[in-house]
Symmetry: C2
């Protein structure tokens, strides 16, 4: 079974359809987003849509916005184009990936300056479709590169997404599609529960045998030799190969090292950030204390109790067996540090 | 501030008052239990009341039951006594601690055979009060023994209760009462969330500075050198000092060893079980998959997804810096293995 689609064009082509992660796993439902403003609103809902998906959603949202205005006169259309660009850009002004994706679409429009708005809208839509397809292809490439780590049978513990579409689940779907007999344990991923809510649903929906394990149970799982490989979905990669990944990844890397189990990080080449020579300064972000204190609706901690806030933790390259990217598998010391990938365009920009 | 009372006699003396752990932290409320049957019903609600508290609750419940029947004639009274004994015993037929506690009260009644039922009921009540007081005293002793591990200032990560009343929180309350400046991080303790729901509430209520940390974040906490000592509340102790503790304890022990931070287990001497020479066969129990899939009403994992079920994990004595009990601190190799404590009576039975 193929991997479930997280994002796509609506059948009538007038909207972006996005699987609402907040609806998982209980009542999986598609959001229908019909304007840049609607997409932007979703992107601003903190933590709802992850890194890779965010860029694709912005691209599709921008194209949908231009299509809405295809009947306008040139000047009015250009005005709407700039407005749509800004509203999407402002959802995360400091994000280079989002900036590059939106710039790519705007350049397409700029090249057609003078053409009828309808033609410009169609061209931008074509470019947005390319962004969508390329992200899917990058995910499949990451999956293929990860495949060589898995035998005909394998039991894998996976933690964190980092990037959606090009993430740590990709090698699992690739292995499943290749007929390998794999079994997957997925960590809950407190406090967001992305593992049990989203990844477990996605793997199950895709036909991959999966069980959920609480984050704290990973030690016992390894002590009982129930996993052969650990996959960590990374958010940021430093030039030396250190990674920042959803909190708990470092704990799993220490456990894996203690038990002699190889742990690999997975991230697209675009996650290698030339700003960071090592992991020491990689941003750890913050989770919402509410996710810890009443993440399930009911209070699960006193409302006034402080919460240790980081959303990510850092794992040194030396703790990892390697890094799986859409541009290849990096295994130190055999391979160069992922610095070779620094400044890579987002997936699909090759 | 003293430690909050988890269990006590009601003011009118006719009932057991027990802080309902299910009500924490949102609306702390006392359960008023007026018969052996009511206490038994609570004890049968799986996982609601922990080991140490269970024995004390059974003792108080037995005494309350006899008081209800103090006006009966001898034969009818003896019949009620046996009935009450059985209903409480059957809540956990294989538990030696519960058996010993109930036997202790029944022996008190047997010694007074021939006396008026009212006199027997009063004597059993006195013995139950002794059980309650001794459990509190054992907790305080465990606290005192743990105190020597803490400096004038200390930052401690605590995980798991294992036993209530004589548990890993005791050294923290002892240190706080002794005027030490301690700060505590408490793990959430998925899937039961006993750490964030109960321990965090209890520490905060007792005036101990506390913050909650998700289980998976413990690695980062240690990498950032934010904790100096790890305390693990153990449920069972093997003769060689291996411990079974709420799941995640082993993960924390591995992390602590990796970071050179001492990790101690805490449990009453009564937790040393002579059935088990080492930790290899210690029972791991099972959690309820529902606590993982929809612990708080909302679904947090697909309903059909399998869940890795152990409720406890085992940490080898060699991974621990020592074991804190109500009968002393055991630090191998300086001290003998806790086998010396094997077969110890429940706390307070000295």
């Amino acid at each position: 079974m193929p991997r479930p689609e997280m994002i796509r064009w609506s059948e009538d082509g007038a909207a972006v359809e996005l699987l609402d992660p907040r609806s998982l796993p209980e009542t999986p439902s598609q959001l229908r987003l019909e304007s840049a403003a609607e997409v932007a609103q979703l992107l601003r809902a903190r933590g709802v849509v992850g890194q890779g998906l965010r860029e694709v959603a912005a691209a599709l949202g921008f194209a949908v916005e231009l299509a809405r205005h295809r009947q306008l006169a040139q000047t009015a259309f250009r005005h709407k184009l700039e407005e749509g660009y800004e509203v999407l850009r402002q959802t995360q002004p400091g994000d280079p990936g989002l900036f590059r994706t939106l710039e790519r679409l705007r350049r397409t429009a700029t090249r057609l300056r003078g053409e009828a708005p309808a033609a410009v809208a169609d061209a931008v839509r074509g470019e947005a479709s390319a962004v969508l397809e390329e992200a899917g292809a990058a995910g499949r490439r990451l999956g293929e590169h990860g495949l060589e780590l898995l035998g005909r049978r394998a039991t894998v513990l996976v933690h964190g997404r980092g990037w959606e579409l090009t993430d740590a689940l990709a090698p699992l779907f690739a292995a499943h599609d290749a007929g390998r007999r794999i079994r997957v344990f997925v960590t809950e991923g407190r406090p967001t529960l992305t593992g049990s809510r989203v990844s477990a649903w996605e793997l199950q929906r895709g036909g991959v045998p999966v069980a959920v394990v609480t984050d704290a149970a990973a030690g016992l799982l390894m002590a009982q030799r129930r996993v052969e490989l650990v996959l960590l979905g990374a958010r940021h990669v430093a030039l030396n190969g250190d990674v920042a990944a959803p909190i708990g990844a470092y704990t799993l890397a220490v456990l894996a090292a203690h038990h002699g189990i190889p742990a690999y990080a997975a991230a697209p080449a675009a996650a290698v950030d030339p700003q960071y020579a090592t992991g020491a300064a990689l941003p750890l972000g913050t989770c919402e204390p509410k996710q810890v204190r009443r993440g399930f609706g009911r209070a699960t901690a006193p409302d006034s109790v402080p919460v240790f806030p980081p959303a990510l933790d850092v794992t040194a390259a030396g703790m990892l067996a390697g890094l799986i990217t859409d541009r290849g598998l990096f295994r130190p010391p055999r391979d160069a540090a992922p610095a070779a990938l620094a400044g890579a365009e987002p997936p699909g920009r090759e």
